[in-house]
């Protein structure tokens, strides 16, 4: 059995080895450039960026008025025709528990927590963010497919966490009550 060579005794790579090492290094650099290029192109093409920002709110007084008062919860149609969905996350429910949105219309989701750290994702979409007390979570997307999707809380928020989920009902734009939603928030539950 051959003895193990120490570092000083290791044979040199040789010309073929050095060529292979150079080729591999170049290949890996090219691969990183391709992957980063795909990410940068997608981000620029979609206007993709981390789905939250630093926007503070007093979580202890959400129910007393302001943006997250009861009449504002649900889906409102903004003057530019886009939809703004406001949801309060609290132990252990989302309010409203059924979000109604029109398909093909840009949607801005704004969530605030009334108590603990929550999170939400919408099944089958890239919508996925945390809802931290004291901050407003904002995510923009456009739902293309009509149907109903689950929106569970994905941050452990207490003993009732597993029961905290809502639905997002995506309806044809013709069936969405645009006129009602210009005056107050609409929802399906």
């Amino acid at each position: 059995m051959a003895e193990t060579l120490n570092a000083a005794q290791q044979p040199p790579l040789g010309q073929a080895g050095e060529r292979a090492a150079r080729l591999w290094t170049r290949s890996m650099i090219a691969l990183m450039v391709v992957l980063l290029g795909v990410i940068v192109f997608t981000s620029a093409h979609w206007g993709l960026h981390p789905p939250s920002r630093i926007e503070t709110i007093d979580s202890t007084s959400l129910h007393q008025g302001g943006e997250f008062s009861e009449a504002n919860l649900g889906t409102l149609i903004a003057p530019d025709g886009s939809a703004v969905v406001r949801v309060v996350a609290q132990q252990y429910a989302f309010v409203p528990s059924c979000v109604l949105v029109p398909a093909g219309v840009p949607v801005t989701m704004r969530l605030a927590s009334a108590d603990a750290v929550h999170g939400f994702l919408i099944q089958g979409t890239n919508v996925n963010a945390m809802v931290v007390p004291g901050y407003v979570t904002t995510v923009r997307t456009t739902f293309q497919e009509i149907g109903e999707r689950l929106m569970p809380c994905h941050e452990f928020c207490g003993v009732g966490h597993q029961a905290m989920w809502a639905h997002v009902r995506i309806v044809d734009a013709k069936q969405f009550p645009f006129e009602d939603a210009k005056a107050k928030g609409v929802s399906c539950g």
Binding site: A2, P11, P12, L13, G14, Q15, A16, G17, R19, A20, W24, L31, L35, V38, T42, W46, G47, L48, H49, P51, G124, T125, N126, V127, V139, R140, T141, T142, F143, Q144
Partner: protein, 51 residues
């Protein structure tokens, strides 16, 4: 096997280049990159943009 013969064999093997290592590395890398692109095209893109 004497030391000289062993060294010669080693030199011959090294001169041929690390074909086996390259094959393993290329295969492993190809699998990882294929999975990355599969997620990108078949999961991430169909789920729509967010911002």
């Amino acid at each position: 096997m004497d030391t000289q013969t062993e060294d010669q064999r080693l030199a011959q093997i090294v001169a041929q280049g690390p074909k086996g290592a390259i094959s393993v590395a290329v295969t492993a890398m190809a699998i990882v990159i294929a999975i990355w692109f599969a997620f990108f095209f078949f999961a991430f893109l169909p789920r729509g943009p967010i911002g």
